[in-house]
């Protein structure tokens, strides 16, 4: 009974009712989830609007003012359609695949620190956790492609498996270079390291905190990470798994209504996660770009969201004007360009850190 009481306290406790010692875990998780899903709804709209603007179109502009409710209208449309399951499909796996995609994408958000101390779970191996969860993302695609029991989805799934495994390697190496500088796998520490050391401190202008962030000293890795993130989330120009000119819709051909929507949702949550990760690793997380009064009064969460929006804008622009890669070019880029660059950079970074004694050393100096 004591166990149930502790568990209930941990999960549902509300301090002001005298029931618990802290705000229950469930409320925090729900708050994060709702905010995230709302954010994703508008990110989806922004993606379409930016794409349209590049092509001098208006984009969705009918539902609500400037089409602001378009995503919710789409949600309604998907939910009220009839889900079709192909006769030859493996029913369980077919329905499990979109669920896996959404659950994995959402669960990675548990460790993301939106502002100082705002992470749902501030674990010591945060970055490794995100890396592990995002490496599982490929299962949604493979399961969906296989269970459809159809040719195009299967080809899409095979491509996706090869592509995501390849680019994970370079993402892993990029993360290692950042970890060498920080000396900790905790995401909060990674941001704190960008606050307490860096180029601005070295130059004696600590207010110019955007110079402190890792995008500057690790610029090649920033670029490699950005491009690998595009490939990892199957975004154009690397959307080979669903290349519509070759595979109709790739692994999603046989999906419709709610299962399709879940694939879509999972994909966009993963994209926003990658944007958040770029922000944390290279753009100083919740830190203000200039550490001077009007800017550092703004709450950290606002800066975090603004930076995520900026990175997503870059994602959207790439989608709008870069043509799709051919499959062999994609593999070449991953294995013959990014892998050697990132391995060399690990050696260079480790060498420089060892020689000069720079680095945050997990905050232990």
């Amino acid at each position: 009974m004591e166990f149930i009481a502790t568990a209930a306290d941990y999960l549902l406790g509300i301090p002001f009712l005298g029931l618990g010692t802290q705000i229950g875990f469930v409320y925090k998780a729900l708050l994060l989830l709702v905010t995230l899903l709302l954010f994703v709804a508008y990110v989806l709209l922004a993606d379409r609007k930016i794409w349209a603007a590049v092509q001098i179109r208006k984009g969705p502009n009918v539902v609500g003012l400037f089409g602001l409710f378009q995503s919710f209208a789409d949600l309604m449309k998907f939910v009220f359609k009839e889900p079709l399951i192909p006769a030859g499909a493996d029913k369980t796996v077919f329905l499990l695949a979109p669920l896996v995609t959404v659950l994995l994408a959402l669960s990675a958000w548990a460790v993301v620190p939106i502002a100082e101390g705002w992470a749902l779970a501030d674990i010591n191996v945060g970055i490794l956790y995100i890396f592990a969860i995002s490496s599982l993302g490929v299962y949604g695609v493979i399961m969906g492609g296989w269970a459809s029991n159809s040719k195009y989805p299967f080809l899409g799934a095979l491509r996706s498996a090869a592509q995501m495994v390849s680019y994970e390697v370079s993402i892993g190496f990029v993360i290692i270079t950042v970890l060498l500088c920080v000396g900790s796998l905790n995401l909060t520490h990674i941001v704190q390291a960008q606050q307490e050391m860096g180029l601005a401190h070295w130059l004696g202008i600590p207010w110019a905190s955007f110079l402190n962030w890792f995008w500057l000293p690790l610029f090649p890795m920033f670029v490699v990470f950005f491009i690998s993130a595009l490939a990892e989330t199957n975004r154009p120009p690397f959307d080979l798994p669903e290349a519509e000119s070759e595979l109709v819709a790739g692994f999603m051909v046989e999906y419709g209504s709610t299962p399709y929507m879940m694939f879509m949702l999972g994909e966009y949550v993963a994209i926003v996660l990658m944007c958040a990760l770029t922000t944390i690793l290279f753009m100083g997380g919740w830190l203000p770009p200039l550490d001077i009064p009007p800017l550092n009064w703004v709450p950290g969460a606002v800066w975090f969201i603004l930076k995520v929006c900026l990175v997503f804008f870059m994602f959207a622009m790439v989608k709008a004007f870069v043509p799709r890669y051919r499959y062999d070019q994609l593999m070449r880029l991953g294995w013959k360009v990014f892998l050697p660059i990132s391995i060399v950079m690990i050696f260079v970074v480790a060498f420089v850190l060892q020689l000069t004694g720079w680095g945050w050393h997990g905050g232990m100096a």
Partner: protein, 202 residues
Amino acid sequence: MTLPLFFFYIFSAICIASALMVIASRNPVHSVLFLILAFVNAAGIFMLAGAEFLALILIVVYVGAVAVLFLFVVMMLDVDFAELGKGMLQYMPIAIVVGIIFGLELLMVAGSWFITPEVAGGSVLPIDAGVENTRALGQVIYTRYVYLFEAAGIVLLVAMIGAIVLTLRHKPGVRRQDIATQVGRRPKDAVEVVKVESGKGI
């Protein structure tokens, strides 16, 4: 019962059940999927034991990379289940005998498992509770066991090179894309401007 204990029972129950389903399910792809579930739950148990680094590495390496390739291969196989079940009865007696011997051996080993108190007490490297997992591992691997660690790395490298050598074929006469030549091409190498007199052709 505390919360971690509760989760331990959940993880281990799912782990054992999915491990059973790996050998019980008829479809090989389902087997691999259950294997992945077993891996993930084993990682959960590692996590509860406080080995967070090991748990996540288990997921990254085994589930994220090895099992993906495994699934990849199994999906491509065209397995005929009727053919597969044919020899079942014929081989059953041998399988039962081997199974019984193996099971007994396992029981004997597990029954006589014993660590002398001196060994357990004077453990080679005492665990420092204040140091986080990743740091503790690094401090041991890169100092005390650095030669063994490097040797393991070399063994893996040799295996990798071996696999590449075995599968690499140089086919003559295959046209390949050479990005450097493509980019380095000048207009005057590729285009010839010819003044053609009317009615003559080239």
